[in-house]
Symmetry: C2
Subunit: 255 residues, 2 copies
């Protein structure tokens, strides 16, 4: 399993992925699921992957090699450095996963291995708007919007409540988005053994056309340790301070 | 879907269930999934159910009618008022769900309807210890312990992080347990449409042998509205107050 979360904020993007992969609990490895294509001043494109590692690695390989459009196989192959928009970048990812599906899905199905893959793709090209997409195994995709300012792939449930309550496209600053993404990840890591450190964090500030920060975070990182402990303390204080319910004892029907 | 949570605390039990059932998003109903057998001074037994409503309703019916042991069908049927221990009460629930399985599972399977059922069973009998069990569709079961002071059935992931962080068998008082169970439910209701109000809340104070409080809570309940709003505010304040990460910008490897 995997957990990746992308925040789409007025100030920019926060993208966070774990690196754990597992095929059963006794076959656990660390793989980066984060890929960056950056040409400062021209484009920043970041991809995070979840699902079957053989599928997503094959897709990333095809993207790096370049893929011609399906309806014009003799054309110059598209790459992340040639696509003119983030929309076309998302289509390139979709085309790659469809190509992997065409090549591998039948053999996988014959052995009951599900064809599972999903992607977060965020970034910006010069003179274009900032975008964040979630791309499905079928190669189609959706975009984050100010109404829905985050997208998640993989083991998404444990880390969703904190984002539902606290995240806002316009009010959450990039620095606070980093905290929220890390708290969302921390909740997931605590609850699901198959999501684990180290983490890959990428932040991008809108219209700068270069990566603001790309950090590999180890489990021993003092900030993450502090964040997790402070957060648990803050939650305990917060719920203690909540007013107590005043429903009477006995068998009653409230309100 | 359903969400039920049971807290096993040194002061007693908090049990909370939603009441929504659905067969597709356009077939949503309200059913109580909470059943109480109480004889003050002698026993308090509370059952909460999740899964296929036809299965769990049939099981509760069989429990109410009474079931003889499988190896002695001519014996006096056991009921929740005759079982001598909570352990035997859990076995009675298990026996009931196995009986339903024997009667219905083959026909359900023929129509691809999964035989899904799970139960939380909490309570105490005179001169016996307080117990909280989770009973599976196969009729076997596990008990909550001071190390694992809560059990969940149904849509459990959204509501787990707050319990993982804040709940303690010995330190969480019953009144705070009510808040935590409601916060755990609130996170779930916000994230999953198939879990919904009204809620059924039961609290039991250890060694009292009577229900402390059984409340049906409507969505309009002023306390629940206040709790949810205060909690969102508290979380936003708490994460704002967390220290900011100090990782440098650029491409770095932290710690």
């Amino acid at each position: 399993m995997t957990y990746c979360v992308g925040l789409f904020l007025s100030e920019g993007l926060v993208l966070l992925a774990d690196t754990r992969t597992n095929a059963g609990v006794d076959n656990v490895s660390t793989y980066s699921k984060t890929f960056v294509w950056e040409r400062p001043g021209n484009r920043v494109i970041v991809l995070m992957t979840a699902g079957n590692l053989a599928v997503t690695q094959a897709a990333v390989n095809l993207i790096d090699e370049g893929l011609a459009p399906e309806d014009d196989p003799d054309a110059e192959p598209d790459t992340m450095f040639s696509v003119p928009t983030m929309f076309e970048a998302a289509r390139l990812v979709g085309r790659a996963v469809r190509r992997v599906h065409a090549y591998d899905a039948k053999a996988m199905k014959a052995q009951d291995a599900p064809f599972a893959a999903s992607f977060l793709l965020g970034g910006q090209l010069r003179d274009r708007t900032l975008r964040l997409f979630e791309i499905y195994a079928a190669g189609n995709f959706i975009a984050a919007t100010p109404d829905t300012p985050f997208l998640q792939i993989g083991e998404h449930k444990y880390g969703k409540p904190i984002l539902d309550r606290a995240l806002s496209y316009s009010a959450t600053r990039l620095i606070d988005g980093m905290k929220l993404a890390l708290l969302s990840m921390d909740s997931t890591v605590r609850s699901n053994l198959s999501v684990g450190f180290p983490l890959d964090l990428v932040t991008y500030r809108r219209d700068t056309l270069k990566i603001e920060r790309q950090v590999r975070i180890e489990e021993s990182d003092p900030y993450v340790t502090l964040l997790s402990r402070h957060w648990s303390d803050a939650l305990r204080t917060a719920y203690h301070d909540l007013p107590a319910p005043e429903w009477p004892t006995g068998h009653v029907h409230a309100s």
